[in-house]
């Protein structure tokens, strides 16, 4: 259940990337992947490579997905910027 919560928070935060200039690797879809993967991997790591079940899921699980999602999107953004610098659009 916590896995679902992490992913949901990641996708929720991804919606706000529309306000950020589109320098993400693969654009808005890349940002989506970054948010989903980032939130899940971060949650998974801080829980010692386990995913808490329905009874062990709480508000904290929703909160802990935020840094993961932001980190994931930041990584995708950084890759995008780097690619733009290496291969500037004609």
């Amino acid at each position: 259940m916590a896995g679902l919560v992490w992913v949901m928070v990641g996708i929720a935060l991804w919606h706000f990337t529309i306000f950020v200039p589109d320098h993400f690797w693969s654009g808005i879809v890349g940002a989506f992947l970054g948010a989903v993967v980032g939130s899940f991997v971060f949650g998974f790591l801080i829980h010692g490579l386990t995913v808490p079940g329905q009874n062990d899921t709480g508000l904290l699980n929703a909160v802990e997905a935020i840094p993961g999602a932001v980190l994931g999107m930041a990584v995708v953004y950084w890759i995008g910027l780097r690619q733009e610098r290496l291969h500037p659009a004609v």
């Binding site: 916590a2 949901m8 935060l13 919606h15 529309i18 589109d22 808005i28 879809v29 997905a65």
Partner: protein
């Protein structure tokens, strides 16, 4: 074939099928499912036994055949037995009222063994003492104690083992010592834990009973007594088995007071073995008899054990049978039988034992009254759904709407005929599927009718508009219906029983609705062309109206933000409250009982004595006013009986109670199948969208679907609504519905991309959305109407289903317009071609991209679409004589021929001038403009072949 002939042929076909359908409907009976007519449903999971260490398909099929023979022998009308879910067998027994007896009749393994009892009984030190009479021994009280005692014994690895020729593992609750898995053994420690819930597993203790050691439940004192909590420990050295007997029959004991018994004959081998074993028992009895003792008291015992339960242990009188019993005239099993249990045992023995053990993982019993009520509610919801959809179509599309309603009526008739011809067992979820397909059928008509209206507004005649509407609308309808059909197919393959019925009707309905909503309505309209009815545009609901000019992409950031906030709320609700999984997933027992006298929840709780049970009163016209529903952890059959007896005693039962018991392992398989179905649907949908559109169109579709599913899940968490197997079916249907909308939108985007070679992608999307927004809203509204009918009139099961659909449909409409489209736009705009267009447009319009494409000098907004489809036609295909030119097309021609340039032109925008002397527009437009400039006054051949074609 000419259009007129084709229409005539289709109309004749429709009429012929109507006649056939009426005949089929009037001559056949509808097969109703258990939920609509009452009955018992049993779902078994195959478990390995020592004799059959693996549950193979062959073993399951043999078990199914044996079970079918048993059901036939018990005389159940129209039973349904089928293999499902890999290792499950589903048994549907309409009209049967006693679920426990049915389970006993159908699913008992029926492994019968005969033992020399004194020679096999073990004491607490695991020792046999054949010289000690069994009457002087006492069985152990408590199953846990007995299994623990058996676990201490050394394995008896001799060749005689049969019922226990491998170690067996029993699971218990570590604290309460209560048996888990209904006290049934498993073949390994791991298997003993597999079917337990997480909570049970955490507190489970598994005890191993070695090979060759049996734990046998003691004999019942009388037929009506509950199963005794006393057990014998014995060695597994049977003298005979069920295969050594023949011709078992229920009879009455002529010597012992006329009690019901089972008589049988032995096979030749069995007769000899029986004589030998009874001789040995008699001789041992004689050897151990003290002088002067009564032979009846000193004689030793011969035990008959069926499925590890002692049926009876008669004495072999050593005075009467010193040389054993000659069984040429047969033998008998006497025990604690009622007439019916003796009859059942005789039949089961006659048919034979099952090759594998079957564990009952789900048992439901629906009373006939509850079934009748469900049927009434389903029919009412269907009728209301039909009426409101019909009303909507007639109000909005006038004559076209009447034709669509006629087609819906024909669709209903065809569907009913198919239900009876195939035959499809009509269940409550199946009725839901049928009602939903009414929405699908109406959606197809809406897509076409909106297209017809567009053509009328563009200046075509009614006849031409109808012709063009069907041609252009068909692609979107075909794509959307194929996707819905694929989802239904996946549901049918992967889902559990109830959901399968829904998937079948949805799939059949989608195909059928394509025929009635597209072909039949087209034929009817073609036949009516030129009549007074179709002459007026107003009669078709096509009033002149201004197109909607909303900046969908510009405003999308606010809609994105709204979605983000909604999803955050849903995620928090999911984290804090979690999902309220029903017994379909968690396992448990639900009893719905109509009481004669009114009772409060607390009174019912006190009466049944289950403290953690969830009790609520429910409404039910057919069942009466005092209906209570009790939900609790999984109860054993005898516990269900105790609850029913308590209710009968305290409040009186107005009718049979309906019960549903679902094991945790069944719930797990429902959940697993749901996840598989969702993943498979998403994969298939992605592949289809990629093939029909582009792979870049598939990704936004998946994101929009994830959005819809998560929001629906979040709303369930937020409201604490119960998640059932129906909810899963609804979630999967949402995939189909959400896609319908998205495909309608994307189809227009696909159509507009080649039409607008100079526009930015955001402009193409805005234009496409403005063209289809009414259509999109109308299809969603129309799909929502039958769902609303289900919610208002469908009863408890259908309401639950409809709620998920309603949330999903709303979310699906929203996500198609404001999530899928903008994601596609943002993604496509990264492509070099659209990036170049955008930068050119920004240059022309002072750094901004107008929401809608604006025609600039030398570069029209629209060009004629590609002719590739036309080229695939036969060379000999004659030109369509009915085809005319719409006013829009005429303007296009004028623009393409350069006539427009001779008009006094508007001042060139500053942006365009600042871009240099280069003419505005794309590469091809600039090339055209350059050629026109080079040629001076020389007339040029129009570049578009279509416009040069004689009409």
């Amino acid at each position: 074939m000419s259009e007129r002939r084709r229409s005539l042929f289709v109309l004749l076909l429709v009429l012929g099928l109507i006649a056939g359908s009426v005949f089929a409907v009037s001559s056949r009976d509808t097969k109703l499912g258990l939920d609509l007519q009452g009955g018992v449903q049993l779902i078994y999971e195959g478990k390995p036994t020592a004799q059959q260490p693996q549950v193979t398909q062959e073993a399951l099929q043999r078990s199914l055949d044996i079970m079918r023979e048993r059901v036939d022998a018990f005389g159940v009308a129209e039973p349904e037995l089928l293999l499902s879910g890999g290792n499950q067998i589903e048994v549907n027994l309409p009209g049967v009222e006693d679920a426990e007896r049915a389970a006993q009749q159908v699913g008992s393994t029926a492994q019968l063994f005969f033992y020399d009892w004194e020679a096999n009984i073990l004491d607490e030190d695991c020792q046999t003492n054949p010289d000690e009479n069994a009457a002087e021994k006492r069985p152990l009280t408590g199953f846990y104690r007995a299994v623990q005692a058996a676990a201490k014994c050394e394995p008896q690895s001799d060749r005689n083992n049969n019922a226990a020729d491998a170690p067996r593992f029993y699971a218990f609750n570590e604290t309460s010592k209560q048996p888990l898995n209904n006290g049934q053994p498993s073949e390994s420690r791991q298997a003993a834990l597999t079917d337990l819930s997480d909570e049970e597993r955490a507190n489970a203790e598994v005890v191993e009973v070695p090979e060759g050691i049996l734990v046998v439940r003691d004999e019942k004192p009388d037929a009506d007594a509950p199963d005794p909590d006393r057990f014998w420990i014995a060695e597994d050295n049977p003298a005979l088995s069920g295969t050594d007997i023949k011709n078992p029959e229920q009879n009455f004991d002529q010597q012992g007071g006329g009690e019901p018994i089972v008589t049988f004959d032995f096979t030749d081998k069995g007769r000899e073995a029986f004589q030998n074993i009874t001789r040995r028992i008699a001789q041992r009895g004689q050897d151990n008899a003290l002088p002067g003792t009564n032979p009846a008291a000193g004689s030793q015992h011969f035990a008959i054990v069926l499925d590890n339960e002692l049926v009876s242990a008669p004495t072999i009188n050593y005075v009467e049978y010193p040389d054993g019993i000659d069984s040429t005239t047969g033998a008998q099993i006497s025990g604690s039988f009622t007439i019916s249990s003796a009859q059942d045992l005789a039949k089961i023995l006659e048919i034979g034992a099952l090759p594998i053990r079957l564990e009952l993982i789900s048992r439901s019993q629906v009373s006939a009254s509850l079934g009748a009520q469900a049927l009434d509610q389903g029919v009412l919801a269907g009728a209301v759904g039909f009426l409101i959809v019909a009303l909507f179509l007639i109000v909005f599309y006038r004559v076209l709407g009447v034709i669509a309603v006629l087609a819906m009526g024909i669709y209903g008739l065809y569907f009913y005929a198919l239900v009876e011809l195939i035959p499809i067992v009509l269940t409550l979820p199946g009725i839901a599927g049928l009602i939903l397909t009414l929405g699908v059928a109406a959606d197809a008509n809406i897509v076409i009718f909106e297209r017809v209206k567009e053509e009328l507004r563009a200046g075509r005649s009614v006849g031409q508009a109808i012709s063009a509407g069907y041609k252009k609308g068909l692609t979107a309808i075909a794509d959307a219906n194929v996707v819905t059909f694929l989802v239904a197919f996946i549901l049918f393959i992967l889902a559990t029983a109830g959901v399968k019925g829904f998937a079948l009707t949805l799939g059949v309905g989608v195909i059928l609705s394509l025929f009635t909503a597209v072909l039949a309505t087209q034929a009817m309209l073609y036949a009516m062309r030129g009549t007074a009815l179709l002459r007026s545009r107003a009669a078709l609901g096509a009033r002149d109206s201004k197109p909607i000019r909303f900046d969908f992409i510009g405003r999308s950031r606010w809609f994105f933000s709204m979605s983000g906030v909604i999803l955050l709320i849903c995620a928090i609700a999911l984290a804090v409250q979690g999902l309220n999984f029903g017994i379909d997933f968690e396992g448990g027992t639900r009893i719905t009982a109509p009481l004669e006298r009114q009772a409060s929840v607390e009174e019912v709780r006190d009466a049944i004595g289950i403290n953690n049970a969830e009790i609520q009163t429910v409404d039910g016209e057919e069942l009466g006013e005092n209906v209570v529903q009790i939900s609790a952890e999984e109860l054993a059959p005898n516990q269900v009986d105790e609850v029913e007896n308590a209710l009968q005693r305290e409040f009186g039962l107005a009718d049979n109670a309906s019960t549903e018991s679902i094991g945790a392992s069944f719930g797990q398989s429902v959940a697993d199948n749901a996840i598989k179905a969702i993943i498979a649907s998403l994969i298939i949908i992605s592949i289809y969208i990629t093939l029909r559109f582009q792979w870049k169109f598939a990704v936004p579709v998946l994101i929009a679907l994830a959005h819809d599913l998560l929001i629906t899940g979040g709303v369930y968490a937020l409201l604490g609504r119960e998640v059932t197997a129906s909810t899963v079916a609804a979630l999967l249907t949402i995939l189909g519905f959400s896609l319908y909308d998205t495909i309608v939108v994307f189809d227009r985007v696909r159509e507009n991309i080649p039409r607008m070679p100079n526009a930015a992608f955001s402009q193409i999307y805005n234009r496409s959305m403005s063209e289809v927004i009414i259509r999109s809203l109308a299809t969603s509204f129309c799909a929502g109407l039958p769902i609303l009918a289900l919610m208002l009139f469908g009863g408890e099961t259908l309401q639950d289903f409809a709620f998920a659909l309603l949330v999903g449909t709303l979310s699906g409409t929203y996500s198609s317009v404001f999530i899928a489209g903008p994601v596609l736009t943002h993604w496509k705009e990264r492509e070099p071609v659209y990036r170049a267009r955008e930068s050119r447009i920004r240059g022309q319009f002072g750094g901004v991209v107008p929401a809608y494409a604006v025609a600039t000098a030398g570069a029209p907004v629209d060009v004629a679409p590609s002719e590739s489809r036309r080229r695939r036609e036969r060379l000999t295909t004659p030109p369509d004589p009915t085809r005319g030119v719409s006013s829009d097309e005429f303007e296009e021609m004028v623009r393409d021929l350069g006539v427009e340039e001779e008009k006094p032109s508007a001042p060139e925008p500053a942006g365009a001038r600042s871009a240099g002397d280069r003419p505005a527009g794309g590469r091809r437009a600039r090339s055209r403009a350059a050629k026109a400039g080079d040629s001076g006054d020389k007339p040029k051949k129009p570049p578009n072949r279509r416009h040069g074609r004689p009409r």
